[in-house]
Symmetry: C2
Subunit: 309 residues, 2 copies
C-alpha cells in the first residue's frame, strides 16, 4: 500500500553530550522515510537548495524510495542547528534558516496522487491542506504539527483535522492543541474534531494510541546508549505508517502493532546522529526489537483463583 | 504467604486543585497496607500518637490486617501537609512534624517474625536494618527509600541493599542513588550491590521492573479524574507484593503480573484523597483494571510475512 510523505528535507547541525554532527540530513520527511522505507515503499515530496549533498539520500533510493518529488531550488536548504543537554529532553535551538523551504509549495507528481496513505509532516497547515487538495481519495491521512502552528495557524489546523484520520503529535502538543492538561480528555477533544485516531508521543516514556473506544500503550525502549534524539518522533510516524501500509489494513490489531513498530523506529533513531542508524538498520533488527517490546510488556492475567480476600 | 510491612503511619493534610483533606490517614505503611490487603493478609508495624483517630484504620482490620504491631505513644502523630499544583507532579511540602515518629524504634511482635515477605517502607535505613535483624529468614525483602536517606544515610542504605531482594523506588531516586542518569545502567548499578530486582516507578508514565536478564514495563493507567497522588507509590508497592504473596511465588511470570497489580493499585490511590478509594475498592474492580492493562498493552507480533523489503 503506497505511502506519500510530504515534509521538510533539511540539513541539521546537532550537538549532544555524546558527540556532534555538522550539516547532516534531517527534516521530518527524511526521518519519516528512513524509517518507513524499511517496511514499505515511500514516495517523498519536499524541497532542497543547491547546497544539498547529492548523495545524502542515496540510501533511500536503494530502499525503493521514490525521490522524484524532491525539487531542487536555487538557494540554501532548510538548516537547523541545535544543542541538547545531558538530559536529552532539553534542547536549545541555536539557529533556524528556512532557505528554499520558506517558499515551498508542495507539488505532488501525477504518479504520486493515487497514494493510499498520506503523511503530512510538520509543515504549515495551509500547505498540508494544499497536499490533500492534490491527492485522490487516500484511505488514511496522518498528520503531525507543532506548537508554532497550533499558536499561529489554529484556524487552518482545526479545519485540517476534519480531513485527517490520525493525528500524531507529542503529548505536550496534544495538551496545547486541546487546551486540556488531561491526555484522555485532550485526545477526545481532537477526536470530536475529525481524527478518529490520536497518537500521543511521550519520548522516552513511550506512546499512546487513542481510538474512540479503546487505547493502546507502548513503552519507550530502554536504551543504554543514546546519541541524538532528533527525528525520533518522525521515525515513530514512519514506523507506524510503514507497518500499517505493510499490513494493508488499519484495524485495531494492525494499529496496535503499528504503534510498536513506531516505538521501535523511534528508539533506533536515537541511537545515532541524523539518519545514520537507519543507513545500516535491517528489517531483521526491527523485527527483533518488536519481539523485545512484546517480551517487555506481555503478562498473563490470572482470574478467579479464589485466593483473594 | 504472610506480608510484614513497616513504615510510617501518618496524618496528612493535602490540598490539590481538585479538593482538600485535613488530617486524614496517610503514611507509607497505611497506603501500602490499604492496597496489599485486597490481595493478601498483611501485618503492619508502626507508631501513632494519642491524637490518631481510633477508627481511622478499622477498614484495614475488616480486611484481615493485623494491627497489633502499631503502638500508640504519648505525643503527636507524624503529620505531613502538602499542596499539589495543577500539574500533579509538582508538589510543595507545607509542613512536616515527626512527632512520635522521631523516636520510632520498630518492635516486631513475636508472631510477625516468621513473615515470608517483608516490606520496608520509606524510613531511616538504620531502622530498616533493625527490622531485618528482628525477622527470621524471609523469602523476599523489598524496600523503598527517598532522596533524604540517599543523601544523609548513604552508607547505611548501601549496606541495607545487600540484604534486600527488591528495591522499589521512583525513577529519580534510582538515578540519584546510582549517580547515573541512564535508568538501565542505574538499575544494574543497584543490582551489583544486592537486589536482583529493581522497580523504577515513573508516576503517570508507569513502572519498569528490571531483572538481571530481563525487564518488564507497565504503563500508567490513563485516568480522566485524578484527585490526590499522595501514596500512589506505596500503593504500587502494596499491589506488587500483595500480588506476589497471593501467587506464593516470585518467578518472572508472577513478577510481571505483580507490576501490573502495583500499577493498578497506584492508579486507584490517585482517584481519591487519603486511602478513601481503597475503603470502597473491591477485588473485582482490581481484577478488571488488571484486565484493562492487558487490553491496553497486548499486541500480536507478526513474523516472517515476507512483505517487508
Amino acid at each position: 500500500m503506497s505511502i506519500l510523505c510530504v515534509g521538510s528535507v533539511a540539513l541539521d547541525s546537532v550537538e549532544t553530550p555524546f558527540g556532534k554532527a555538522e550539516r547532516v540530513p534531517g527534516g521530518s520527511a527524511v526521518f519519516f522515510t528512513a524509517a518507513a522505507s524499511l517496511l514499505n515503499p515511500v514516495r517523498i515530496v519536499g524541497v532542497i537548495g543547491d547546497d544539498y549533498p547529492t548523495d545524502a539520500l542515496d540510501f533511500l533510493t536503494e530502499r525503493g524510495v521514490d525521490l522524484t518529488g524532491i525539487e531542487r531550488s536555487p538557494g540554501e536548504s532548510f538548516f537547523w542547528a541545535g544543542r541538547y543537554e545531558y538530559d536529552l529532553n532539553v534542547r536549545e535551538t541555536l539557529e533556524t534558516r528556512l532557505g528554499v523551504f520558506a517558499e515551498f509549495r508542495p507539488r505532488i507528481p501525477e504518479s504520486f496522487r493515487s497514494s493510499r496513505i498520506v503523511f503530512l509532516g510538520n509543515i504549515d497547515p495551509v500547505l498540508q491542506h494544499d497536499v490533500l487538495d492534490q491527492v485522490e481519495s487516500p484511505e488514511l491521512v496522518a498528520c503531525d504539527t507543532m506548537n508554532y502552528w497550533i499558536e499561529g495557524r489554529r484556524k487552518e489546523l482545526l479545519s485540517l483535522l476534519e480531513r485527517v484520520d490520525v493525528l500524531i503529535v507529542n503529548d505536550s502538543e496534544l495538551r496545547e492543541l486541546a487546551n486540556e492538561p488531561n491526555l484522555l480528555r485532550a485526545a477526545r477533544w481532537v477526536q470530536e474534531r475529525g481524527p478518529g485516531l490520536v497518537v500521543a508521543k511521550k519520548g522516552e516514556h513511550g506512546a499512546i494510541l487513542f481510538g474512540r473506544e479503546w487505547r493502546f500503550f507502548a513503552p519507550g525502549y530502554p536504551l543504554e546508549e543514546l546519541r541524538d534524539p532528533t527525528g525520533a518522533g518522525d521515525a515513530f510516524a514512519g514506523g507506524f505508517l510503514g507497518s500499517l501500509a505493510g499490513a494493508g489494513a488499519a484495524g485495531p490489531e494492525e494499529l496496535r502493532r503499528a504503534v510498536v513498530y513506531g516505538s521501535a523506529m523511534g528508539s533506533y533513531a536515537v541511537e545515532d546522529f541524523s539518519v545514520d542508524r537507519f543507513r545500516r538498520l535491517t528489517s531483521d533488527e526491527v523485527e527483533r526489537r518488536v519481539v523485545e517490546f512484546r517480551e517487555m510488556t506481555a503478562f498473563d492475567v490470572r482470574i478467579g483463583t479464589g485466593e483473594h480476600a
